[in-house]
């Protein structure tokens, strides 16, 4: 059982634990078939109950699950020969964003993602996945490099947002994000953006413009974090669970709004229950979308990209 289990995962973890116990005992020669069958049946039922009706807040918690594969985990599971590239050539290296070249089943791609870190030391080094302007400028440098040599860009997004710091403001956090958006609008290679965990506001969008935007089944994407939303609405960040409801931040919401192109399924219980399987599903999806995008000329690609964003918005003309 993971020490990181969420409250609503506990009954499932208990059952998994019991199943494991009987499996171990079975290997000792004694037969626990009936017992195991009963437990597996129960597990399926409980899983269906729990994961069939997750609240937006539970989805947010799953998206932030400490055991969930992070972008760099997907890099390692999906790519051959990943070569990390560092630095924005302006000011500093920002570990909150990681990027480089790699081969996706023989196909060269420039891949860029957020870095959150698992232990305290990493979390501090990666600034909890919150990039400074240098991170966005590094990502843009890599995108421009990809453009120069005609390689597609893949971005894997999992960040609480851009870092709200003094230095970040001094060095132009707004400018860095804005420039990414403008450049990604006319970058002359295909871009596929995938939200695998938290899509935190402008800091996520800064890597998130593309010809295809995909989300993992239990990922979230929001204009503001539920905590900040609660702090504004009720002056109480602890009411985040309540704020998650009206924000409509789940992958299913984004898909229903036609803001993303498709949802990538996860194993029952979430990507962290089988990271390898998830990486395979993700890789297959990226390959499929790249092949679809291959059919367009660059001009068509850019026109479609413009129109993709141009039509987002709902209003009435009275």
């Amino acid at each position: 059982m993971s020490k990181n289990s969420l409250e609503f995962e506990k009954p499932i973890d208990d059952l998994l634990h019991q199943i494991k116990k009987y499996e171990d005992l079975s290997s000792g020669g004694k037969d626990y078939k009936a017992e195991l069958q009963r437990l597996r049946k129960k597990l399926a039922k409980v899983e269906k109950e729990v994961f069939g009706s997750l609240t937006p807040w539970q989805k947010t918690q799953l998206a932030r699950h400490p055991d969930r594969p992070y972008p760099v985990d997907y890099f390692n599971m999906m790519l051959d020969d990943f070569v990390e590239l560092h630095g924005d050539r302006r000011f500093a290296e920002d570990y909150a964003i990681i990027g480089g070249m790699g081969m996706l089943e023989g196909r060269p791609v420039m891949i860029i993602g957020n870095q959150k870190g698992r232990d305290t030391k990493q979390k501090i080094k990666y600034n909890f996945g919150m990039a400074n302007p240098e991170g966005y400028r590094k990502s843009l440098r890599l995108m421009k490099l990809a453009e120069k040599f005609g390689k597609p860009v893949i971005t894997i997004i999992d960040t609480p947002g851009a870092y709200p710091g003094i230095g970040a403001e001094e060095r132009g956090q707004s400018q860095a994000i804005a420039e990414n958006l403008m450049e990604m609008a006319h970058l002359q290679v295909p871009i596929i953006a995938i939200v695998t965990g938290e899509g935190g506001s402008g800091g996520a969008l800064a890597l998130g413009m593309g010809d295809r935007v995909l989300m993992l089944e239990n990922s979230v994407y929001s204009v503001i974090s539920p905590e900040s939303c609660a702090a504004i609405l009720w002056r109480d960040a602890s009411k985040a669970a309540d704020a998650a409801e009206p924000l409509r931040l789940t992958a299913q919401d984004a898909y229903s709004f036609k803001i993303i192109d498709s949802i990538i399924p996860e194993p029952t219980g979430g990507a962290h229950r089988d990271g390898k399987a998830e990486a395979t599903v993700l890789k297959t999806a990226i390959k499929k979308h790249l092949e679809e995008l291959d059919r367009f000329s660059i001009d068509e690609l850019l026109e479609n990209r413009y129109n993709k964003y141009r039509r987002i918005g709902v209003y009435e003309e009275q």
Binding site: R137, L140, R141, K144, A162, Y163, P164, G165, I166, A168, E169, E170, R171, G172, Q173, S174, Q175, I177, A178, E179, L181, M182, E183, A185, H186, S201, G202, L205, A206, G208, M209, Y221, S222, V223, I224, S228, C229, I232, L233, W234, P246, L247, R248, L249, D253, A254, F257, I259, R305, Y306, Y309, R310, I312, G313, V314, Y315, E316, E317, Q318
Partner: protein, 298 residues
Amino acid sequence: MSWFNNPKTPKTPVGDKQLKIPEGLWLKCENCKEILYRKELEKNLNVCMKCNYHFRLSASQRLGLIYDNGVYTEFDNNLAAIDPLKFKDSQKYRDRLKNSQENTGLKDALLNTQGKLGGYEMVICAFEFSFMGGSMASVVGEKLSRGMERAIQLKIPFMSISASGGARMQEGLFSLMQMAKTSAAVSAMGRAKIPFISLLTDPTMGGVSASFAMLGDVIIAEPGALIGFAGPRVIEQTMKKPLPEGFQRAEFLLEHGMIDMIVNRGQLRNRLVQILNFFNSQTAGYAGKDACGQCLTV
């Protein structure tokens, strides 16, 4: 460039003078607390005579001060929000919209207009801060995009006047995506070689500063304007230390190389005409057909 059309010397601005600041003959400067005579303050374009504090203006006041003789045509004023999330907190989004509509007489937080500035025909999109904090959601993003596309179509310059707290959370992801949509429109202007002047007024924050507003060919700020990505309170909580003096103010941004200039309200029209003259000049121009003109990174 074909947006050339008989530049004239700018006239003294004649704005509409309906102020939204408190009624009465006298009022207190929000900055230096000096008691000011309202008539005199208005004559001074709502800039404090003692400390140069620039009072916030409505969108129509701004346009009145900038366009020749304060004359302009408004476009797309029939666009209204439709609450895609059915957002409700202590109050329904629909009710917030209705209140703002009643208070401002506008349908949403942006005016998309066209008129002449120093004789040059141009498009200006101006934010109305008193409409839900000038927040950007579907209607604002759509009107900005239409404004920029009209500038491209007519080959005339574009200007934005920002006064906004950022993206409007009541439209969720739709609001966030307006950052992408408007930045894509700026990219289209760049390729069409349409000059884009961005005026940042108090405040220009969050999703507005982190999209089209920071992408101007020339970026001008009003003195003292608060400009930034994250709100000062959030930053203070994150850093757990007091913010430096003047943090995120226009002067701070100029110091850090983020904007081109700070211009007093009284000098703004002259400055704008100088800039438009430069872009419009046909003397010894070069075609530069492949230069993006905006890409800082090659």
